[in-house]
Symmetry: C2
Subunit: 295 residues, 2 copies
Amino acid sequence: MAEFLFERLCLIGVGLIGSSVARAARAKGGIARTIVAHTRRPETLARVRELGFADLVEADAGRAVEGADCVILCVPVGAYAGVMRRIAPHLAPGCILSDAGSTKGSVIRDLKPLLPAGVQLVPAHPMAGTEHSGPDAGFAELFENRYVIITPVPGGDPAAAERIAELWRRLGSMVERMDAETHDKVVAIVSHLPHLIAFTICGTADDLAEETREAVLRFAASGFRDFTRIASSDVDMWRDIFLNNRDALLEMLARFTEDSHALARAVRYGQADFIEDRIRRGRRIRRGLIERKQA
Amino acid sequence: MAEFLFERLCLIGVGLIGSSVARAARAKGGIARTIVAHTRRPETLARVRELGFADLVEADAGRAVEGADCVILCVPVGAYAGVMRRIAPHLAPGCILSDAGSTKGSVIRDLKPLLPAGVQLVPAHPMAGTEHSGPDAGFAELFENRYVIITPVPGGDPAAAERIAELWRRLGSMVERMDAETHDKVVAIVSHLPHLIAFTICGTADDLAEETREAVLRFAASGFRDFTRIASSDVDMWRDIFLNNRDALLEMLARFTEDSHALARAVRYGQADFIEDRIRRGRRIRRGLIERKQA
Ligand SMILES: NC(=O)c1ccc[n+]([C@@H]2O[C@H](COP(=O)([O-])OP(=O)(O)OC[C@H]3O[C@@H](n4cnc5c(N)ncnc54)[C@H](OP(=O)(O)O)[C@@H]3O)[C@@H](O)[C@H]2O)c1
Ligand SMILES: NC(=O)c1ccc[n+]([C@@H]2O[C@H](COP(=O)([O-])OP(=O)(O)OC[C@H]3O[C@@H](n4cnc5c(N)ncnc54)[C@H](OP(=O)(O)O)[C@@H]3O)[C@@H](O)[C@H]2O)c1
């Protein structure tokens, strides 16, 4: 086994996710001889230099990827096509291009057409995060014991997918593989719909009459408070996720809406059995999570 | 000031809330000379005797309230009418009847018609709880720094309401007063609708094809996981809450549904500005909570 998994690891975007990859790679060792970081804005670049989790900080995306044997995109998924146009001409043959984006169908759609010959695409999604963003929010333990889903592209080199899997295992994660379509459906219900709901209910509360809204903030208690934590996530990231997992998200929202109407109807007509059945299903799902130690 | 706020405090129902009141009253002191506990099932009675947080444990609800100068109902709100029929003939003149129920309009509707002369009704709702239930789930610190909403009934004795307010302050809570209708609207959006949504999304996930459902449990990540915690709450309590805050709950669900459709439409047609605005509102509400130290 080589001393390092990669000679030169380039992170395009070093907010919460990218900076956590850099920090974890340093902390674990054996992952990359050199870590190159690129970020878009001069002020973030300056902050990344101060934080010092990368060996090289590069203002130009094209120059950043030059000579890298692994490039990981850690920018909002809506920025992929633009970023890819800038870096594609500079990607070295033999390089593996991967990412951490929360949608996978759109990522393949946006990256594959511009992929230079000799470069392997291995889309990946670490199922770990917080509601904070930017390079200060990252930490080395973020991926510890969390799942990373890899969605290999048809016709891709299995050895490249295996190296990305090994990268994440060395960062502390468990790796699962599935196709991009299944991934997008699963995250639609596990993460994207809960976020859409959380943003929505905050808006609904915000529209209440002044007096009620004041009381809502005061008595946020449990329930609403958990929703607002989810709803405090980054604007650009979530706009891009919604727009880039549109079909699966709208499908899951439609199912959820039908189900909420059925429960509302039972409440309206006093159908206790139906209501109890719904509550019991919630408890059963929770038990399933506890058994799987995901609670 | 008297040595004790009440001579004989009777708790009808000693699950999470009732047993926490008993424990906190003991821990704080100066609240009740004698604490009487009643619960419905023989096995819970036996467990309450073992736990020892009450001075007297009484199997008969009527006998339990005899001679009490304060009675607090801590049973699911759907049980109020039945419990009241059993205890009303035994309530001593001068006694204050209060409760901890999560709905307030229904509580007044169910208790007031049976209220004996000389007994004061002071409905109250501690905005504190967990997703656990039963006498083992209670703890003395549950109400510490949490709000309690008192909804005095028109024509009631202000001195009685003030004694219940003082009880909760001594248990560590902040007391607010509002009318029952406003209370029911506020808790509909702060607590009841989030629970309805959480139960629903768990059901939606449960209906997915086997393969996707397995993946949902495995990747519950943040978002869905928080919803399942909310959804693990007690069946009887939540059935009763939904059925007894029907109008406010259905009204808030209707508003939420309209808002979620508006956001879905923006996703469908790629209206980034609209989506960003909704996400920003979520973040603003969250900031409001943080400023109020309710986050
Ligand atoms: N946060 C999570 O919970 C989470 C979890 C799993 C996966 N992900 C995915 O990981 C990726 C990064 O998320 P994050 O939470 O790390 O975001 P973040 O903390 O907001 O960082 C975003 C990074 O991307 C750069 N960037 C933003 N917009 C850009 C644009 N239009 N063009 C070029 N660069 C841009 C930012 O640069 P400047 O700051 O210099 O502008 C920053 O370096 C996203 O695709 C997200 O879906 C996030
Ligand atoms: N849990 C919360 O987060 C929370 C927060 C604020 C307010 N509340 C309100 O506080 C009240 C009590 O909730 P809790 O969480 O303490 O519930 P809990 O832990 O489930 O305890 C319920 C108590 O009520 C008794 N009970 C249940 N059904 C009954 C019936 N049909 N007739 C007579 N007694 C019955 C139970 O007796 P057995 O066990 O002997 O059957 C037990 O003593 C409810 O009105 C609830 O809405 C709850």
